[in-house]
């Protein structure tokens, strides 16, 4: 009976998550849809060679890494700081209100968010118009290839920085109040207490989230990017995921695209495992020791 309850869900994971994995074999084939997996010609590593000699691939890789790096530097600390700020608010009512406001954007889809950003920052948007009417140099944040990674990061911050505070707030709540009291009695001021009690208390969760972020380092928001890729052109707006989509599904270069996708997946997996190992070395819990 129990098995019957589990079975549908299990089938889902097998069909849509495990079955595609052997499908990666087409990365080593000259895959032709009408021939299928079995009859398509085996080409060894040619697809990888083709991808690596494609300049567009390198652009995509570079953009992916730039955006990841930018998000790591600019986005990652924001929820931590917001959580610290929220945590320092004494009034429960105010805190609750701010929380409800900042969680909201997380529930909007990228299409909606980018539509809103277009309204504000697009060619006929609010802010460029404001600049114009103030006699300032005209700007065009939505279509400027040079600032695209920054734009993407700002959008991510707007969407998820508030939501990101949940975890950190929980970590903060679990810090024993006695520690603060003891520190205060020992003469530690507010900043000193933050440094000596709060930050160490948050460290495990910070490390955990860093690891998880690292694992998705090569997947920078597919939906978000593909919605804006054409605004800034492929050279600046292509990332690995959109490269796979355009070369595989749009242009029909199945093998090459699958090769890039495979490399991406494998590198991502090793990044998580490696980062987790590293976390263990530094004496942190990392991802899986929690699952026991």
């Amino acid at each position: 009976m129990m098995l019957l309850l589990i079975l549908p869900g299990f089938l889902y994971f097998v069909v849509f998550h495990w079955l595609p994995i052997p499908g990666n074999i087409i990365a080593f084939e000259d895959y032709q849809p009408y021939l299928g997996f079995i009859d398509s010609v085996w080409v060894g590593l040619d697809n990888f060679a083709a991808a690596f000699s494609d300049q567009a691939f390198w652009f995509a890789l570079r953009n992916t890494l730039v955006i990841t790096l930018m998000q790591l530097i600019l986005f990652f600390p924001v929820p931590i700081m917001l959580a610290l700020l929220l945590n320092s608010i004494m009034s429960p009512g105010l805190k609750k209100f701010v929380q409800s406001v900042i969680y909201l954007p997380h529930f909007l889809g990228w299409v909606i968010i980018i539509s809103i950003f277009t309204q504000l920052l697009g060619p006929t948007g609010v802010i460029p118009n404001l600049f114009e009417s103030l006699g300032l140099p005209s700007i065009s944040p939505m279509t400027n290839p040079d600032t695209f990674p920054l734009l993407v990061t700002v959008q991510t911050i707007w969407k998820d920085a508030g939501w990101g505070t949940i975890m950190f707030l929980a970590a903060l709540a679990s810090i024993d109040n006695d520690l603060y009291e003891a520190a205060a009695i020992d003469g530690a001021g507010p900043w000193r207490r933050t440094w000596a009690v709060t930050i160490p208390g948050m460290m495990p969760i910070i490390v955990l989230l860093l690891i998880l972020n690292l694992g998705s380092a090569l997947s920078v928001g597919f939906e978000q990017i593909i919605l804006q890729r054409n605004n800034v052109g492929a050279q600046a707006g292509e990332v690995l995921d959109t490269y796979v989509y355009y070369h595989g599904i749009v242009d029909g270069q199945w093998g090459t695209a699958a090769a890039v996708g495979l490399v991406k997946g494998v590198v991502g997996l090793f990044l998580v495992l490696g980062a987790n190992k590293l976390a263990h070395l530094f004496g942190q819990d990392g991802v899986y020791s929690r699952e026991r």
Binding site: M1, W18, P92, G109, V111, Q119, M167, L227, G265
Partner: protein
């Protein structure tokens, strides 16, 4: 039900009424906050809230404006002087947006029901001890969080299953989320075994226990997970972009096509009332926002709880 994180314990014990009167009490060892510091905090919080709320107001304002007003204000209309519903009449009088809206509602309802059912059943099965192969099934689900098979192979599987250009392709490929499964499972694990044992002694089978014992106790977590799924389906356009033709597009995909890619909406969304393009575009955005804004207040008190159960207990 709500988790009042961080409130000093005295306040917790006094209950909400007492807490409101007292506010949160500053522990004796804590310094009185300085005025400039508090002012700074206030400013930052105000800025953050404005940064979130302001964009919504412009979008709504613009969608209610007339062409003259939009032109006169450089596309910046926060509070229209002569609000008009023309844009909404245009898009809701039949045509592409109306169809997509109906489709989106259908997909969201069916998809959410299916997803929640699958999640609850599997989570219940995995939450009880001694189920044959339990660990194996759990790992099958959890490991999918580590490795993504890739867009191309997934596309080929959907194609081989004959799902291309069906509504099923908008639901099935993302029907279950391992993350939500973990949330529900750990919630079920937290329900005392005695309850299940008692029901079993009374002769209830697994289905009956799930329906009459577990579900009534897990309304909160199911609400959260249901919301996560519903929002996912409502916002999704990835599946639509990959798998279906334009006659099956949900609202998000229409939004992309007509608002972001700038295809002309006017001819296709036939309406006798001429509303300004920008107002129409923003009206589509507002319509996509409405369902989320409607359910949000009811469910937000469960967020913290739901997310934390999933994250902490693993």
């Amino acid at each position: 039900m709500s988790v009042e994180m961080n409130a000093p314990t005295t306040v917790m014990r006094l209950g909400t009424k007492g807490a409101r009167r007292l506010k949160a009490r500053r522990p004796v060892w804590m310094e009185k906050p300085s005025i400039p510091m508090q002012g700074l905090k206030g400013l930052v919080l105000l800025a953050v809230c404005i940064a979130v709320i302001y964009p919504f107001l412009t979008v709504i304002g613009t969608s209610l404006s007339t062409q003259q007003e939009i032109a006169a204000n450089n596309g910046f209309v926060l509070f229209p002087q002569h609000p008009t519903l023309d844009a909404y009449k245009t898009i809701l009088s039949g045509g592409i947006v109306t169809d997509a809206l109906i489709r989106s509602i259908g997909i969201t309802l069916v998809g959410t029901a299916l997803s929640v059912a699958l999640t609850v059943m599997m989570a219940y099965g995995l939450s009880r001890k001694g189920v044959m192969g339990g660990n194996f099934f759990l790992m099958t689900a959890l490991l999918t969080m580590l490795f993504t098979p890739g867009i191309i192979p997934t596309f080929l599987v959907v194609k081989e299953l004959g799902l291309l250009n069906t509504y099923a392709a908008l639901i099935l490929p993302t029907a279950l989320s391992a993350f939500n499964l973990v949330i529900v499972r750990s919630f079920f694990k937290g329900i005392p075994t005695e309850l299940v044992e008692a029901a079993r002694l009374d002769g209830a089978g697994d289905l009956r226990i799930l329906w009459h014992v577990m579900l009534p106790l897990s309304k909160a977590v199911i609400a959260v997970v249901g919301l996560f799924y519903a929002v996912g389906y409502w916002n999704a356009f990835f599946n639509a972009m990959l798998y279906v033709n334009s006659d099956k597009w949900p609202l998000a995909m229409v939004l992309r096509q007509y608002v972001l890619l700038g295809s002309s909406l006017d001819q296709s969304a036939v309406g006798e009332i001429a509303a300004p393009t920008q107002a129409i575009q923003m009206a589509v955005v507002v319509i996509s926002l409405v369902p989320i804004l409607l359910v949000y207040p009811f469910l937000q008190k469960y967020f913290t709880k739901g997310v934390l159960t999933g994250a902490v207990k693993g």
